[in-house]
């Protein structure tokens, strides 16, 4: 056993030291693996970042009520009478005066000019009440101040402020015929709310000609356990409404979109990996061919077939791991924390940050090892079948 290990180590070392002879083709193998890893990690980081953003949004003790079948707030409609009935539901937290902690909200799509493209993009302007702000405990003013209820003031999510024109403190921005003053920027723990503009709900209804329109109700529950009775009450009303926790609502959205990203990402990465494996195979066949006389010589000296196999496989795995390491490093430097945005359910911009994690890096390493094993396996078998007569006939 020790003899086999010694033989394998000696041949592997000799192989790796001979890499400069095959520098360019080895480099192409390394770079193709780097590319595969970058593409895979790009998709994984995108899905992960998106999931992180949405899963950091919402809490278990806030319930959302929307029209049944509406997968986003923009598609939901709740009547004033329905809202009154919900206010009577059990399990709702109340103020000392007995008022329910409930926020009637609506989201209106508005256009703003992106600084980088100069084109209009759709953002979400959310109409909230003072209670609505209280239902978002992570929301904190990072610059300026909070808007005053009943006025034409807005506060802007931190992720939007730097990307769009007229969203700096003190700016006035026009949405249709309405004018709004930017008085504050806010953060919200990296949640999806950072991709929104917040204004007074009543004024949003008035300025956008949507009198009494409510799209969603946000309800503070007495505790997370109270959701069951609250939900049962909403069901019993049979008003075509559905209650779910805020956490569950955003988790479902995250899951759907992450799945779509991964559904595209993994197949693309695997197709590229197959290409890289074929490239690796070519490189390794070339390596075996290049070392034909050396392999035959050491085999003639008494080295085993299995040592020749291991040494070739080690070379393939070493090259793929180098490619993988470069890919992971580049992804971490270039992609982790990179800001991206996509369309949310309301067709508005939803900003998020790409996020890499160690399990994802491990996925890339496994994929790279797969490329190395497939790309190096057959050439390694070839190395075990090098005719020993080659030692007598060729130059090393």
């Amino acid at each position: 056993m020790f003899g086999f290990i010694r033989q394998s180590l000696a041949l592997s070392g000799a192989n790796l030291r001979s890499l400069p002879r095959r520098a360019w083709i080895s480099l192409s193998m390394v770079l193709s693996v780097t590319l595969v890893v970058l593409v895979l990690l790009g998709f994984l980081a995108m899905a992960n970042g998106f999931r992180k953003t949405l899963s950091s949004t919402g809490s278990a003790d806030v319930a959302m009520v929307l029209s049944r079948g509406a997968f986003s707030e923009a598609l939901s409609r709740i009547g004033t009478q329905q809202a009154h009935l919900i206010e009577e539901a059990p399990g709702i937290a109340r103020t000392a005066e007995g008022a329910p902690l409930i926020s009637r909200e609506l989201v209106v799509p508005v256009d703003a000019v992106a600084q980088d493209s100069g084109k209009n993009e759709t953002l979400s302007l959310r109409g909230v009440t003072a209670t609505g702000l209280a239902l978002r405990p992570k929301l904190a003013i990072s610059a300026g101040r909070m808007m005053t209820p009943g006025t034409d003031e807005i506060v802007v999510g931190a992720r939007l402020a730097a990307k769009y024109n007229d969203l700096n403190l003190g700016d006035t921005i026009s949405f249709g015929r309405s004018q709004w003053k930017v008085v504050g920027h806010f953060t919200a723990g990296g949640s999806v709310f950072e991709s929104e503009l917040l204004a007074d709900a009543g004024l949003v209804q008035a300025q956008f000609n949507r009198p009494n329109q409510i799209q969603s109700l946000r309800v503070r529950l007495e505790d997370p356990a109270a959701f069951a009775q609250f939900s049962a009450y909403v069901e019993d009303l049979d008003l075509g409404l559905l209650a779910q926790t805020e956490q569950a609502f955003y988790a479902a959205q995250a899951s759907d979109i992450s799945r779509i990203i991964l559904f595209l990402g993994w197949p693309l990465a695997i197709v590229m990996a197959i290409g890289a494996a074929v490239g690796a195979m070519t490189t390794m066949y070339s390596s075996v061919s290049d070392r034909m006389v050396e392999i035959a010589t050491v085999r003639a000296l008494g080295f085993s077939r299995s040592a020749a196999f291991v040494a070739t496989l080690v070379e393939a795995l070493a090259l793929t791991l180098i490619g993988c390491a470069i890919g992971v490093a580049l992804a971490w430097i270039g992609l982790d924390g990179w800001s991206a945005s996509t369309k949310s359910g309301a067709n508005a911009q939803l900003a998020f940050q790409l996020a890499l994690s160690w399990p994802q890096a491990l996925s890339a390493v496994v994929l790279a090892l797969g490329i190395g094993a497939i790309g190096g396996g057959l050439p390694a078998l070839r190395a075990t079948r090098v005719p020993l007569r080659a030692a007598m006939t060729g130059r090393a």
């Binding site: 003899g3 010694r6 033989q7 000696a10 000799a14 030291r17 001979s18 006389v293 050396e294 010589t297 050491v298 085999r299 003639a300 000296l301 008494g302 080295f303 085993s304 077939r305 020993l388 007569r389 030692a391 007598m392 006939t393 060729g394 130059r395 090393a396």
Partner: protein
């Protein structure tokens, strides 16, 4: 314990190689004996079967018929694994183009066959030092092959061949790639290994002057021995 005699016996050997759809016979009924301690030079035109004899004796090729026996061991009856192990213990190869690992130093090249033994690292180092000293390269331990002359590279090749103390050295045109002076030095070294250390040496050569160091010279043509000459004062 009675020392094992490594007489080499080829009996009724048939060997052919494929050529297109047919096979061309190299040997049809070759029989020869090489006694332990012999220094045999084999000459003959290209394609006469000189190298094939080395391949068969070295166990890197197998007979199609007949037998090859060395020290009583029938090579044609051995498994590939057993043959590989046997070869590492009994046979040393010296190649025309040296076949050194270009990325390994002289000492590392010589150490290669010792990795197949049970010697410790320090014992291997000591053995390598001794052998490089024997071949006159004590001061070239750490030199890469590319930094050595052809003659020096062949000395490293010989050092590697004798590192694990094999009984038999198979030399395929060992001076074929060297100038006259270097060739003479290599031949003297081989003669020394034969006379002082008792190694059996079988040397294939095209160079008639190289045969002066051999005890016997045979000439092969079309798979048959056509003449044999025994040196008077080898």
């Amino acid at each position: 314990m009675t020392p094992v005699s490594y007489d080499i016996e080829l009996t009724g050997v048939y060997k052919s190689y494929p050529l297109g759809k047919s096979r061309i016979p190299i040997f049809e009924d070759l029989t020869m004996t090489i006694p332990d301690g012999d220094f045999l030079a084999i000459m003959g035109p290209s394609g006469s079967g000189k190298s094939t004899i080395l391949n068969l004796i070295g166990g890197i090729d197998t007979v199609d018929g007949g037998h090859v026996s060395i020290g009583g061991t029938m090579l044609d009856k051995m498994s590939t694994r057993a043959l590989t192990r046997w070869r590492s213990e009994v046979i040393g190869f010296v190649f025309q183009f040296y076949n050194l690992m270009p990325m390994l130093s002289a000492a590392q090249n010589v150490e290669l066959p010792l990795l197949l033994t049970d010697l410790s690292a320090s014992e291997r180092r000591e053995r390598v030092h001794t052998i490089l000293d024997i071949v006159g390269l004590a001061d070239r331990h750490d030199h890469l092959p590319s930094l050595l002359s052809g003659g020096q590279q062949q000395r490293v090749g010989i050092a590697r061949a004798i590192a694990s103390d094999p009984r038999i050295l198979l030399c395929d045109e060992p001076t074929g790639d060297l100038d006259r002076k270097s060739a003479d030095e290599i031949l003297e070294l081989l003669q020394l290994l034969n006379t002082k250390l008792g190694k059996t040496i079988i040397m294939v050569t095209h160079d008639e002057s190289s045969t002066r160091v051999a005890k016997r010279t045979v000439i092969l043509d079309k798979g048959r021995f056509v003449s044999e000459e025994i040196a008077q004062c080898a």
